[in-house]
């Protein structure tokens, strides 16, 4: 157990270092920090001065270590486009993105699991077939198109819901939340459905496949033979055992949801990190790009790590097999 955790931790640190290295290369080689910081009429002496103050005259590995040191403390320099510290910009935008991602994930779970169970139990009904075909179409639909169609129907034609922004937000310390006002709650519905669409279809198909698998096993037959009600068999025995892979996939999707929020945030002009990042790409704002990359990398690695450990805690079979063989 301990060896597994240590190995997983080391692996995560390695991935983070790789991500950090890419961000560092972006920063130092692509961006040419010296000319970014100086006016065009600067002399050679000025350039040397700045080079020195940035530590660019030091050996490569020292520079990398300094970069990592700064990054760990959240210091990514100053945005070229907005002229403000990148860490401050990201911290302002983080609540918006996290609230959107969490709502989308909750949508995914609370829609995906019941739909998955339904399509598994009533597999021959026409509604199940419609749902399954619909989910296939949903996977082929680009995310931004779903958003546009939702805006067209619910904001433009019906006029029920707002189509851009977060609505009214309340400031709770450093955290700005849209959950406390009806305006804010209304504003999150369309973006969250758009972002949650893929997780819903994914979880639904996954739960269905797992349920069908579990329903064929012997212990379900025995449970039925014992005279348990259908509900007890389906939800007490079968569903419980399908949830392990669901936890994993949902967890792994969480990082993906935060990354895909870039698209949803652009469609709905949602003031989150994704919108900040896409503007950074358009304006070649290297510090913001590097910082966003590190942050997303960190979220991915952390989520992967937690899911792996959780998997380990939830599934006792893994603990037994772990004694000899490796990882998964």
């Amino acid at each position: 157990m301990l060896a597994f955790i240590i190995r997983r931790l080391l692996q995560s640190v390695m991935v983070m270092l790789a991500v950090g290295f890419i961000a560092f290369s972006l920063f130092n080689f692509v961006g040419d920090p010296v000319s970014l910081m100086l006016p065009p009429e600067a002399t050679q002496a000025d350039r040397e001065e700045v080079r020195k103050s940035l530590g660019l005259d030091k050996p490569f590995y020292v520079q990398f270590a300094t970069f990592i040191g700064n990054a760990v403390q959240g210091n990514f320099g100053i945005s070229l486009r907005l002229g403000r510290p990148v860490s401050q910009l990201l911290a302002e935008r983080l609540p918006a993105t996290l609230e959107l991602a969490m709502t989308a994930a909750v949508f995914g779970l609370f829609m995906g699991i019941p739909l998955g169970v339904y399509t598994a139990l009533k597999r021959d009904k026409w509604t199940s077939k419609v749902l399954l075909t619909g989910s296939l179409v949903g996977v082929s639909l680009p995310n931004f198109l779903i958003g546009i169609f939702l805006i067209l129907i619910f904001a433009v034609w019906l006029g029920w819901l707002p189509s851009f922004g977060r609505g009214e937000v309340t400031q709770l310390g450093f955290w700005s939340t849209g959950f406390l006002t009806t305006d804010g709650l209304k504003a999150i519905i369309l973006p969250a459905i758009t972002l949650g669409f893929y997780p819903i279809t994914l979880i639904m198909r996954l739960v269905r496949a797992e349920m069908l698998e579990v329903l064929r096993t012997d212990y379900i037959k025995f449970a039925r033979a014992r005279g348990l009600t259908n509900n007890a068999v389906h939800f007490g025995h079968a569903l419980k055992n399908t949830l392990v892979p669901v936890i994993t996939i949902t967890g792994l999707q969480l990082g993906g949801i935060i990354a895909f929020a870039i698209i949803t945030e652009t469609v709905f002009q949602w003031p989150g990190m994704g919108l900040l990042f896409i503007q950074a790409v358009q304006f070649a704002d290297i510090p913001v790009m590097a910082a966003y990359l590190c942050l997303i990398g960190f979220i991915f690695v952390a989520v992967n790590l937690i899911v792996d450990l959780l998997y380990f805690a939830v599934d006792p079979r893994l603990r037994v097999e772990q004694s000899g063989s490796g990882g998964h």
């Binding site: 991935v15 790789a18 991500v19 972006l26 692509v30 961006g31 296939l136 179409v137 996977v139 082929s140 639909l141 680009p142 995310n143 931004f144 198109l145 546009i148 169609f149 805006i151 067209l152 433009v156 189509s163 990082g255 993906g256 990354a259 895909f260 870039i262 698209i263 652009t266 469609v267 990042f277 896409i278 950074a280 790409v281 358009q282 070649a284 290297i286 790009m289 990359l293 997303i296 990398g297 991915f300 690695v301 992967n304």
Partner: protein, 302 residues
């Protein structure tokens, strides 16, 4: 004649005939691809010929509505360009970028996969580690990042190289799947007798990899490629929609949707909805064919 007869006798053709949905998808994709390829001949207007554009035609709704004109079947956009024609030209760009990106992705992935599987050892470990790391991030993020870097590197000439950058960005974000598949099959093939025989008669490792092993691992790769075309077209459309794809002078379906998105609220829905539908139909048909191909070529499912 002989090859046609062989094709008609094959299992694949038999399976194709028994799947009406796949036949519809195949016909649809054929029409769409032909329409895109022959756009300069078939399109009712040339949306890039400024002389034929008339601003008075701007925002004409589709022909079947009251204010529509018969000459503009799907209406016109803000500059008076015929939406049907821009869609035909747009799918040309989308398909071109998608197919080129998949081809490049295959070349990178297959080469690295063959090397990884055939050479093994530290090379294999390194390539697979990189693949693992890349696989834990969504393709769109990697493509965005490459595009962002290219914007800095090619600051002044970015519009001219945008299409190539886009192809490279999508290709670089998709090679892992091919590398993994090819590596897996290569590990199996490597120890078979024909490879040993080739080695004994003194063929060079590169020759063995590409002329002996490669043909035997191509099956799953082709299925993967079909499904990848759909995904690549979506990635291209997404990047163009986000404003970091092809330049507006050379609009793809994604760019058209982005342009139309600005007019959603003023009621001109057709400018964005028709390119959107076109994108969905195109990707859906390709995906249906890919799904069928995967099942039809999988001997375990027969």
């Amino acid at each position: 004649m002989d090859t046609i007869k062989r094709m008609l006798d094959s299992d694949l053709w038999y399976s194709f005939k028994r799947h009406p949905l796949v036949i519809v998808a195949a016909i649809l994709s054929l029409i769409l691809i032909l329409g895109a390829a022959l756009a300069p001949i078939l399109a009712p207007h040339n949306p890039f010929d400024l002389k034929t554009l008339n601003l008075l035609d701007a925002f004409t709704p589709p022909a079947w509505t009251e204010a529509g004109k018969a000459t503009f079947l799907l209406g016109t956009d803000d500059q008076g360009r015929d939406v049907l024609s821009t869609i035909m030209y747009g799918s040309r760009v989308s398909l071109l970028v998608g197919i080129c990106a998949v081809a490049l992705s295959m070349v990178i992935g297959i080469t690295l996969g063959l090397i990884s599987g055939y050479v093994g050892g530290a090379v294999d470990a390194f390539i697979m580690r990189v693949a693992d790391i890349q696989l834990s991030f969504p393709a769109i993020l990697i493509a965005l990042l490459i595009d962002g870097v290219a914007r800095v590197v090619f600051k002044d000439i970015h519009d001219q190289v945008a299409v190539y950058v886009l192809i490279f960005a999508i290709a670089a974000s998709g090679w892992v799947q091919y590398a993994r598949t090819v590596r897996g099959s290569t590990l199996v093939e490597r120890n078979k007798e024909y490879v040993q025989a080739a080695r004994v008669i003194g063929r060079k490792p590169l020759a063995i990899m590409f002329s002996h092993v490669l043909p035997n691992v191509m099956g799953p790769v082709l299925v993967l490629a079909t499904l990848h075309v759909g995904a690549a077209i979506i990635t291209e459309a997404t990047l163009s929609f986000l404003g970091v794809g092809v330049p507006p002078t050379q609009p793809s379906l994604g760019t058209l949707i982005r342009i139309g998105n600005d007019f959603l609220f003023s009621g001109e829905w057709w400018i964005t909805v028709f390119p959107g539908l076109m994108l969905v139909i195109l990707v859906l048909s390709i995906n249906i064919i890919g799904d069928w191909l995967r099942d039809a070529l999988n001997p375990k499912l027969r």
